[in-house]
């Protein structure tokens, strides 16, 4: 196989061999429906509940507070829609941020069409939510605050504990989309006053199509899928047993390896950031310099466009992603990059590289060396760069 340097681990990750191994018997010999009475199948119920315990332990939660879903987007949709419905008699105001994943933003828009009011908080130039602005946005009819634990594009870690405390002091539910953070940074739902939390399996070397929503005991939330009695009647449908086993195995593994893995990723991330900022002119780091996910680096290169950059990188066997309009199918670049105040043309020239546990120093060197060459090549054919250089020459 040709060289492949996968630096798009925020998009998805490779399923770990031990995770796959744990899952396989549940496709073949242990295929029984956990709801069935006979022992052959009903032991799968125990297997599913063991995964619930593993995940609860990872969050400092109780097993019965973990509800399996088909992924992060479903968990986000459920948290917002069902909480809005359950608490609408108390009020119809929800607070979230401008940099959430679309699973939150578009659900917010959906609720707005149904008579709810949603405040989308601004963030600062590092992508950080302002606690002051949050406090000012709270109204007597605010029923829910939803702020992501870590941003998927720029990696910024939000002040979740402080936000949770503010929410709880005022008796407002607090949900966090932790799809990028779960398994990457330690999370304790009690310490952070989190009432609901969304996560996904495939971001932590688990399978796709499985995730969970943590719902604190006592939180009134309606069923999302109606049908059988699975997931305490709140999320009907025969359990995705192999997926759940894989999610549990991935969560256990992520907790076990977290310290060592993220220390290595952080070191390589900083090495990557420093080399790029030092060796490539007219570029900037997006997101907070230190309060960011251990594996996330996001740059903007002036005068060039992200899709061109991605194709050139792909030809060198490097996988990354961009917030340019061309990669999103619209004319506007990433809402996150615009929210941190980047001008459109700078946002178009962004590149997100997210490291994985297999990333090595030599990979980073190869990526930086390739980037230097590609960025210079694209700038040489950019009319924006031409104008910039000519303007500078005139200015001297």
């Amino acid at each position: 196989m040709e060289k492949l340097i996968y630096l798009d681990n925020a998009a998805t990750t490779k399923t770990a061999p031990e995770v796959l191994e744990a899952m396989l018997p549940y496709f073949t010999e242990n295929y029984g429906n956990p709801s069935s009475v006979y022992g052959f199948a009903s032991k799968n119920k125990n297997a599913v509940n063991r995964q619930r315990e593993i995940i609860a332990d990872a969050l400092g939660a109780k097993p019965e507070e973990i509800y399996f879903t088909a992924g992060g987007s479903e968990a986000d949709n459920w948290a917002l829609k069902a909480a809005a419905e359950a608490y609408e008699e108390k009020g119809r105001h929800i607070i979230t941020t401008k940099i959430e994943h679309h699973a939150i933003l578009h659900t917010g828009e959906y609720l707005e069409k149904r008579g709810f009011q949603v405040t989308y908080l601004n963030v600062d130039e590092d992508g950080m939510v302002s606690l002051k602005e949050l406090k000012e946005a709270i109204r007597p009819d605010t029923i829910l605050i939803s702020v992501m634990f870590a941003n998927n594009e720029i990696g910024t870690l939000e002040p979740i504990k402080e936000i949770g405390e503010i929410a709880h002091e005022r008796g407002i539910l607090f949900h966090t989309d932790a799809v990028q953070a779960f398994g990457q940074v330690p999370i304790n739902v009690d310490e952070c006053c989190i009432d609901m939390l969304s996560a996904s399996g495939h971001k932590l070397n688990g399978p796709k199509g499985i995730g969970f929503l943590y719902i604190r005991k006592g939180v009134k939330i309606r069923s999302f899928i109606h049908g059988g009695a699975q997931e305490r009647k709140r999320r009907a449908g025969t359990e995705n047993v192999p997926g759940i086993i894989g999610l549990g195995a991935a969560a256990a593994r992520a907790v076990r390896t977290m310290k060592e893995r993220t220390a290595k990723e952080e070191e390589l991330r900083d090495y990557l950031i420093n080399r790029v900022l030092e060796e490539i002119p007219y570029c900037r780091l997006n997101g907070h310099r230190t309060k960011r996910l251990p594996n996330n680096a996001n740059f903007s290169f002036q005068f060039i466009e992200g899709e061109s950059l991605l194709i050139k990188l792909d030809r060198k066997g490097i996988c990354g992603s961009s917030g340019s309009a061309c990669t999103s199918g619209s004319l506007d670049p990433s809402h996150v990059l615009l929210a941190i105040g980047l001008p459109h043309e700078t946002a178009h020239g962004s590149l997100r590289l997210t490291l994985g546990e297999d990333t090595e120093r030599e990979d980073i060197d190869y990526v930086v060396d390739s980037l230097k060459e590609i960025v210079a090549g694209l700038r040489a054919m950019s009319p924006l760069y031409e104008d910039f250089i000519k303007k500078n020459q005139k200015g001297v």
Binding site: R284, E307, I311, P343, E345, M381, L384
Partner: protein, 147 residues
């Protein structure tokens, strides 16, 4: 997602560069939307396009359509160059994904803008040629900042 021809023109773009004292220069597109094309034409006294160069800020399709457009007009008369439509550029590239069709329109516009500039400079009228629609400098000058 792209045809082999598009990839070829993206990876090995033809006629990249500038022409000093060009007969006509046209810049179209908008940095806000993520693509800008600039075409330089060198036109001789017989109104033949002797040379053409381009610079493009944009996606793979934007680069490939600029490259193909320059190939299609090189060595042609200015009237023949007027026949190079976005459709012709797309066909020559074995097609574009639907979301990228606007790139070929931009390439056609860039050629027209350069011809317009030439016509203005020489006080002539080219049949069927209208004033180019967009200019990147409209309303957004001095917006560039350095880090």
């Amino acid at each position: 997602m792209y045809s082999e021809k598009v990839m070829d023109h993206f990876e090995h773009p033809r006629n990249v560069g500038e022409i000093e004292n060009a007969s006509g220069v046209g810049t179209v597109g908008n940095a806000k939307c993520g693509d800008i094309m600039r075409i330089y034409l060198d036109i001789d006294e017989n109104e033949m396009i002797r040379d053409v160069k381009f610079k493009t800020f944009g996606c793979g399709a934007a680069v490939a359509t600029s490259s193909m457009a320059t190939e299609l007009v090189k060595g042609k008369s200015i009237r023949e160059a007027m026949q190079v439509t976005n459709k012709a550029v797309m066909e020559a590239l074995d097609g574009l994904p639907p979301v990228k069709v606007h790139c070929s329109l931009l390439a056609e516009e860039a050629i027209h803008a350069a011809l317009w500039d030439y016509a203005e400079k020489h006080g002539i009228k080219i049949e069927g040629l209208e004033k180019p629609k967009s200019d990147i400098h409209e309303g957004e000058e001095e917006e560039e900042e350095e880090y």
